[in-house]
């Protein structure tokens, strides 16, 4: 498998990729459907060309124009923006945002303070499990709590995932609405100056209970992979999450004596905590959900809330190529996130090189990704048609 790839080859390869592999037709249908009732031309796109040249306020009328634009400009990065009241190329700064998919961005660098296998740009199948948990928790909340149906999950190209909700109710959600959804889903707050970032109150909300059930499915596995509390430093960070000094000392003493295995140490902690709470009834009041808070701080999704709250934030398009990794931002189904292997994700190099060893596998995975995308767009179009019909009927009744 080619680890080394030459970014300088991209300008030659991208035009081929855009023509042969990028699902232009479905992409345009997805955007057009999401721009409804406005036309596709009111949607903003942005391109980043070679040498960091940035083009904003681009728009297209149809797929043919999109194809021409791609060939002409050959963007290294393709971003999608909001739907405006007029064509963005005309309106520019004065155009008013009308709608935009509800989006979420989860990046593994936000887990750097807890993941031990990788840091910064590096990512592996072990820390990918955090993304699996994040997908399941967010997807379930969006469906069950908010009633959203058209939820697109996209690999971001290097170390994270994006989520696009295309339901009409989501697209037309205003800024305060987006902020409320982001805050609802956000349990981890506080920056690098705060050690304990999760505080649960007396009544655990149903969504938090559900998230904990999901975390529990993967917790032991992640604990064994990451060995959070095996190293001296890891144990120190863990202890900082315990608000009671006496308990902290007790746990430190017990765990330091134990074998390095995080799983064993965790069980040791749980036992120490339970015993301590039985003996000190007051402690329960301050730390009723300590175990849950720690699990959440380690495993719960860390969203970039600014991306969700912003209405006109430009976000990377599905099926674009990441310039540093060459990987395709593939669409995947949340229930298949666990079986997604990072080295099996198609890259522009393997797709265009028939001789590459992973060419066949990557081409097949690409087809699956495009099919996932297609299924979602079809169901979105159907939902939109039903909605338009209902609206038309409703207005007739009113009249």
């Amino acid at each position: 498998m080619a680890e080394q790839h030459d970014e300088n080859l991209l300008p030659e390869m991208l035009p081929l990729y855009y023509t042969r592999h990028f699902p232009q037709n479905i992409f345009c249908r997805w955007l057009a459907c999401g721009s409804n009732p406005k036309p596709l031309s009111n949607r903003e796109l942005s391109f980043t060309l070679a040498d960091d040249v940035y083009l904003r306020y681009l728009s297209i009328n149809d797929q043919k124009e999109f194809q021409t634009l791609l060939q002409k400009k050959c963007p290294q990065k393709l971003d999608i923006g909001a739907v405006y009241n007029i064509k963005p190329s005309i309106g520019r700064h004065d155009a008013v945002v009308l709608a935009r998919e509800l989006v979420f961005d989860i990046d593994l660098t936000d887990y750097d303070e807890v993941r031990t296998c990788c840091q910064q740009a590096k990512v592996c199948d072990k820390c990918w499990k955090f993304m699996v948990v994040a997908c399941e928790i967010i997807h379930t909340a969006l469906q069950d709590d908010f009633g959203f149906q058209n939820i697109l999950w996209v690999f971001s190209g290097r170390r994270g995932v994006h989520c696009w909700v295309s339901d009409y109710e989501a697209r037309t959600l205003d800024s305060p609405g987006r902020a409320a959804v982001a805050d609802y889903l956000c349990l981890i707050t506080g920056g690098e100056n705060l050690n304990k970032k999760v505080h649960l109150t007396n009544d655990l909300h149903s969504s938090i209970r559900r998230s904990l059930t999901i975390i529990d499915k993967y917790f032991e596995e992640i604990l064994q992979d990451q060995e959070f509390i095996s190293s001296t430093e890891g144990l120190k960070s863990f202890l900082k999450m315990i608000p009671d000094e006496a308990l902290k000392t007790l746990v430190e003493g017990n765990l330091e004596r134990m074998h390095k295995s995080s799983l064993e140490r965790w069980d040791g902690f749980v036992n120490t905590y339970s015993q301590y709470c039985k003996e000190n009834i007051n402690a329960i009041r301050k730390m009723k959900y300590l175990i849950e808070e720690i699990k959440i701080q380690y495993c719960y999704p860390r969203l970039d809330v600014n991306v969700t709250k912003g209405f006109n934030h430009l976000l990377k398009s599905p099926f674009s190529i990441h310039p540093k990794t060459g990987k395709v931002s593939v669409v995947f189904k949340p229930e298949q996130a666990k079986s997604l292997k990072l080295e099996e994700i198609p890259t522009i190099y393997s797709l265009l090189d028939d001789g590459a060893p992973d060419n066949v596998q990557h081409q097949s995975n690409m087809r699956v990704a495009v099919k996932n995308f297609q299924e979602l767009v079809f169901s979105l179009e159907k939902a939109e048609a039903i909605r338009r019909k209902n609206d038309a009927n409703a207005s007739i009744l009113e009249f």
Binding site: D110, E113, D145, G147
Partner: protein, 425 residues
């Protein structure tokens, strides 16, 4: 007429009486905000003509007066008044309140966002057993009755996870109905103060007279002297910075890098302090030309990203792109913006105790620290900062009225008060 203030009242009133009504209302709201006991005030009898006229005219004053802190102050006062009145209603009064609102809603021509859920709630409250339950029996976690509304109509509850959601529908338990009514009232009032354009009234002599009278009463915070802040003056000036900005400044000096949002907030703060755009470019260049000290989430350096930085700084000053001028975020925004990798934030909220004490530079035995910690425990982070400011400012001759500060407090205000740049009008 209802004290929910869904619609204004028609009629004529002498101007001098209008002024009295408004000034008395403002006085009454002031005492409510300060939680003082208030005597009977004939101008604020709920649902009376004076009450409604006073409310709407005060709204006009707040909109035209323009200052953010005054608007927030009025909203707080009216919210507290509404809640006080609501809690005092008997079951019978509650039913009347609900029925009256339903009658008004039926006749309303405008399409207000809050009308649908308000109508739904009032339909529940007008029923005898529901009104009785809500007024007397309903305890803190009671959910004998539920009201189902779209999640979009109770965003405040959703954001704090105070309500169960199912398929986009929020199920509000009866124990929260009064809070929900307050929420609807609050949203309606905010809409009125922020989304309605009455600039046509600005030159009406009756209004200008009133504005002048009100202007004399409220805390005069609007005049301040801003001198030019140069890049080499920042280290000295930082001694007067609020904890949040001081921390960012120190972090920048130590590591030579700040992540995007923190860089943005700090740049805006320096701009509002009077740093001209050329000085800003010099300031950031000096730091970003140095290599980062230690691990930083920011991967930029001046050599590679100069063009982007200069564009970004100029954009902030309204010299590029949309030419929009930005100003420093207020405390509320900074407190609600903490991301996991952020090196900044409000120290009173997002820092561990020892980190906070370090940046505040006060000893553990200082009595003001326990005051601050008590406020932090109550989640009153801005009040904690104001307490610190008042403590530091105690020896200075000019100190501004305490209660005016908590509304729309910003890092800039902290600096201005401490450096005595604020002068009364």
């Amino acid at each position: 007429m209802s004290f929910f203030y869904l619609n204004a009242v028609k009629g004529d009133i002498p101007v001098h009486l209008l002024e009295t009504v408004v000034m008395k209302r403002l006085e009454y709201l002031e005492s409510i905000v300060k939680s003082e006991a208030n005597a009977y005030n004939e101008y604020v009898v709920e649902g009376s003509v004076y009450d409604v006229v006073g409310h709407y005219t005060l709204c006009i004053v707040a909109i035209l007066e323009g200052r953010e802190e005054f608007k927030q102050y009025i909203i707080r006062g009216e919210d507290m008044l509404f809640m006080r009145r609501l809690k005092a209603l008997s079951a019978y009064d509650l039913r009347c309140f609900a029925k009256k609102l339903l009658r008004i809603i039926r006749k309303l021509c405008s399409e207000l966002h809050c009308l649908k859920p308000l109508r739904a709630l009032c339909r529940h409250l007008m029923l005898r057993d529901m009104a009785h339950h809500v007024s007397s029996i309903c305890a803190e976690n009671c959910s004998v009755h539920t009201l189902s509304v779209s999640f979009k109509h109770c965003l405040a509850f959703v954001a704090k996870r105070q309500v169960v959601l199912e398929n986009g529908v929020a199920h509000i338990p009866c124990s929260k109905w009064k809070d929900y009514l307050l929420n609807l009232f609050h949203c309606n009032l905010k809409n009125r103060l922020y989304k309605i354009d009455i600039s046509g009234l600005r030159h009406d002599p009756r209004v200008t007279d009133l504005l002048r009278k009100v202007g004399k009463e409220i805390a005069p915070l609007n005049r301040f002297n801003i001198t030019v802040l140069r890049s080499l003056d920042v280290d000295v000036a930082s001694k007067m910075f609020p904890p949040c900005m001081l921390h960012l400044h120190q972090h920048l000096r130590n590591t030579h890098r700040l992540t995007h949002d923190q860089r943005f907030y700090y740049s805006l703060f320096l701009k509002d302090l009077g740093m001209p755009v050329e000085e800003a470019i010099m300031f950031w260049r000096e730091e970003y030309q140095k290599p980062p000290n230690g691990k930083s989430a920011c991967c930029h350096n001046w050599a590679k990203d100069e063009k982007k930085f200069v564009y970004g700084i100029r954009h902030m000053y309204g010299l590029e792109g949309g030419r929009k001028e930005y100003s420093c975020r207020n405390c509320h925004q900074i407190q609600n913006c903490d991301t996991v990798y952020s090196e900044g934030g409000c120290p009173f909220k997002s820092f561990d105790d020892n980190k906070m004490e370090e940046i505040l530079n006060i000893s553990k035995t200082d009595p003001v620290l326990s005051q601050i910690n008590e406020l932090r425990a109550q989640r009153k982070y801005t009040s904690a900062c104001v307490t610190l400011l008042q403590n530091r400012n105690a020896n200075k001759p000019q100190s501004v009225k305490g209660d005016g500060m908590n509304f729309n407090f910003t890092p800039l205000k902290y600096y201005l008060v401490l450096t005595n740049s604020l002068t009364s009008s």
